[in-house]
Subunit: 294 residues, 2 copies
């Protein structure tokens, strides 16, 4: 996909800022480790797809938004992997940042990536200051408290979890950021794009729950069975594999139906359909497939 | 001082944003714990003092800058206190955030405060978008990598420390942010204000080294002798108490001399002199005083 090249170039450009002065070399290396090689870069892909569906008249701003969003996602992975959260040894098939560089640099790498995300947007502001400010507000809202991914993770430290708020913040927030920032980068009102992001986020949550329950660490590049091990809420424990797979299909149908009217509407619907195909992991596991059929 | 009220009001307003939706209550409480009651709020005081010396024609923007800077400072304290860094039980005379709320919420509180700082600046942008963008760039530069406080802390994980870069980033960065953001909020070129911030930062580093070596935990509200315990570079171990006290005086003289020409120049010089008075802790300790005299 042509978007891949745009996203990697934008992320590489962002990380170059951390080498633009005399910084501590191991922290700089930890930042690279956290961001490269990337995963599927799904959030920035959705962001750029929405921007293009809306005309993408300021591609520099869209690229900055895409890389900023991916940096926040990478920061969240680094901090979520820390011993006090998932204590994950591996991420994307290699050592997690704290395993490779130690816990202090993992904390600092996450912090630095959050800062870098906002710096990238501020640096792209010359292109259109008002839109850049809107992008910074949207990204902050979907990252911090009370409704961003920090808050989402924070719900796991509560004695009683508000499940709707938890899922919306933990997984949904950065997908809502993706659709809304894509629209805002192209000068469109971000509000009507929230629902699409929320639905894609909910779909990814259910898909993740299915993957966590069904796939091996070799297939996902991270430890399996983490939801059960940490007693986290999961669509699979709530409604079983077959129920979760059906639910996933329903959400994706709703996502496509929610796409606001725009020049690239059909292309965007095709993209969501393609993700839906990729997201449904049941064909990877014969036992799960039979469970769904049965 | 009248500035105190402005700063508290701005910080209270910023924290109110974290209660503007359905967030996890313990994270919200941890954010309050991290920010209130404050310490001396020195960095925002310097920021507002410089803004006022430069005319302070957009007080809303100056207030946003002051609270954003204080939020970053509070975030850095929360993360620096974590077990993988200082493992501090106390901060500002009460339990550190991770002692009061656990390590996961301490990591998330620090992250959320960083995000909130940038959100506050973006929300103040309507007043003057170009200045707000400049403020976001300045704050990011002094917070992340390669030259901000994250990088400063990162130097402590290096096998060989670049001492000049370390001090400049670890303590100097937020004081340079204070003077430069104060000027930028008032529409002045921030560049000539860097030196004043750097010198005040250096003075605070030496004063901190003196306090760490001379004062008791009851006097500072945090553990004593941490530099020696963690084998951190310190002006006291490098040049002794008397040498460090002389060095502090020299730096502060240079700071006053470096103040750029502006309407409020004399008042600002008086403020730095007042800080110098407060900063020199030798009179608090009879043994140290005799060491300096001797």
């Amino acid at each position: 996909m042509a978007l891949d090249g745009r996203i990697e170039q934008a992320v590489v450009g962002a990380l170059a800022l951390t080498r633009s002065g005399e910084g501590p070399p191991r922290l700089t290396a930890a930042l690279d480790h956290a961001v490269f090689p990337g995963g599927a870069r799904i959030r920035p892909t959705i962001l750029l797809s929405v921007a293009m569906a809306c005309g993408d008249d300021r591609p520099g701003l869209s690229d900055a938004a895409a890389s900023a969003l991916e940096l926040i996602h990478c920061a969240s992975l680094v901090h979520d992997d820390l011993p006090c959260f998932d204590d994950a040894d591996m991420r994307r098939g290699k050592a997690s940042v704290h395993r490779a560089y130690g816990e202090p640099l993992a904390v600092l790498a996450g912090d630095s990536l959050i800062v870098l995300a906002f710096e990238v947007l501020a640096r792209a502001a010359a292109d259109h200051p008002a839109r850049a400010v809107e992008l910074i507000k949207l990204l902050a809202q979907r990252t911090g408290a009370p409704g961003g991914i920090c808050a989402g993770q924070g719900w796991e430290s509560e004695p009683v979890i508000n499940l709707a708020a938890y899922h919306r913040a933990k997984t949904g927030a950065l997908f809502m950021a993706a659709t809304q920032m894509g629209a805002a980068a192209a000068g469109q009102d971000p509000e009507p794009w929230e629902e699409l992001g929320a639905r894609i986020g909910a779909a990814f949550q259910v898909a993740d729950d299915l993957k966590d329950a069904l796939l091996t660490p070799e297939q996902t590049g991270k430890p399996a069975g983490q939801d059960a091990a940490h007693q986290r809420p999961s669509a699979v424990t709530e409604m079983g594999v077959a129920g979760a797979a059906r639910y996933l299909k329903d959400i994706l149908g709703g996502a496509i139906a929610s796409i606001p009217s725009c020049p690239g509407e059909a292309k965007l619907a095709a993209l969501v359909r393609a993700y839906a195909e990729k997201m449904t992991p049941v064909h990877l596991s014969p036992s799960a497939a039979s469970a769904v059929r049965g």
